[in-house]
């Protein structure tokens, strides 16, 4: 089982490798579950075949928390939980694991650490501060993946209450506060560090910022930052090219 655990853990880092609109991360979940289901193949080949089919069905969650689902679903198969209930557990885990993970990582830890990285760069710490940021982030990511798989395997169908009792729901809002603060401090300092030393540089940058926030963003999601950026920078490039 330990060899299976380590293999499944390794495969969880590839869980989005076959992402599709049809099954989303379903194939990746099946791929990660397979080493853990190996013992079931010997003990109960019929149940194993059913479990293997279920393991690769539609699923989606935050990739770092997918281990909770893999562990819980595999444990449920070993516990001989009826197949329909395993499928219901699979569906029930999709939304909370997605929402919690997105809040903790994509909207929390990533902007928090990138804000700190930006502060390090503008403070003159050079590229090496970013090595520290990557190491810290990946340490949290590996530890979370390990914890998720272990907790899922230990909890089975009770994984929902295990998640509710864990550090996860409490950590996400706290990391969000750090993210808000670090991005907030980083933005003005990043602007100062990036601005060319010219008389009207600040005015032009702040003018663009004001146009973007006051006039363009209310137009809705069709005018996203990339489209606005391409349009505004492209226009500026054309103007610069046309200047005498």
């Amino acid at each position: 089982m330990i060899a299976g655990f380590l293999q499944a853990l390794r495969r969880l880092f590839l869980v989005q490798g076959a992402w599709s609109y049809e099954r989303m991360t379903g194939v990746g979940i099946g791929y990660a579950s397979e080493p853990l289901l190996e013992d079931l193949r010997l003990a109960d080949p019929t149940r194993h075949a059913e479990a293997a089919v279920r393991s690769a069905e539609y699923f989606n969650s935050h990739p770092y928390l997918a281990g909770l689902a893999v562990g819980a679903l595999v444990r449920a198969e070993y516990d001989q939980v009826p197949g329909a209930q395993v499928s219901r557990l699979r569906s029930a885990l999709t939304s909370p694991l997605g929402a919690l993970g997105d809040q903790l990582f994509w909207a929390g830890l990533v902007p928090a650490l990138m804000g700190l990285g930006i502060l390090g760069v503008v403070a003159g710490l050079g590229p090496w501060i970013l090595v520290a940021v990557v190491v810290v982030y990946n340490a949290v990511r590996v530890a979370t993946t390990w914890w998720a798989l272990s907790t899922g395997l230990a909890s089975g169908v009770h994984v929902g209450s295990a998640i509710a009792r864990s550090w996860l729901p409490r950590a996400a809002p706290l990391v969000g506060l750090v993210a808000g603060g670090s991005v907030g401090i980083a933005l003005p300092l990043a602007a100062r560090w990036l601005l060319p030393p010219r008389p009207h540089a600040m005015t032009i940058a702040l003018g663009t910022l004001a146009v973007a926030l006051l006039a363009v963003w209310p137009l809705g999601p069709r005018v996203n930052p990339v489209r606005f950026g391409v349009g505004a920078i492209g226009l500026a490039a054309l103007l610069a090219w046309g200047l005498p």
Binding site: A18, R54, P225, G229
Partner: protein, 225 residues
Amino acid sequence: MILETAGTTALLLVWGTVVGIDLVSFPQGLLSRPLIAGAGAGLMLGEPVVGLRVGLMLELFALDVMPVGAARYPDYGPGVVGAVVLAASGPWQETLGLATLYALGFAVLGGWSLLLLRRSNGRAIGRHSAGLAAGDAATIAELQYRGLAGDVFRSAVLSGAAVIGAMLLRPSLPGGDRYAIVTEVAIGSGLAAALAGALRSAGRGARLRWLAAGVVLGVLLAVRP
């Protein structure tokens, strides 16, 4: 102007591919963030500050994006590597804005290429439906490796186009002090993107107060002589 050796070019292509794969497939370990991708490319070129400037500029845009599941989002990494090559060709005040435009174009292209890859994965799943319905482990593994190989290919093509494109474009890149305006507009656009993302994530609760306090502190630190 920097003239890359074949070794440096190969390193940049590999780095561009790695940061492209990192976005979705493996290891999703922050390497695809523009600041990290740009810093790496800058170190490889022997121009770490240029790499940091390009990376930081594009990071402002990326702070708006949440790479959530089925959403279509830009892939900044390979374009940032190409943009560092482009920006290193002259004074950063003049090249940074144009390099940002170049990277944003590739980010959009990267997002579109992800869409194609996901559709291709879906078609492969359709072709292997019998194996999946039988719970065949070999079929599941084959689909997984096929998807990963597809992402390696996607990232390599994107990275190759971005890096080689930047090298070809470099000699004809317009220069002069007036192109600093492009850089300044790019900074304003990036700040707007980052601020919009931060406000959206903050909602109306305590995080908004932390964001506001952070901005005030940041402004005070930025305006000090």
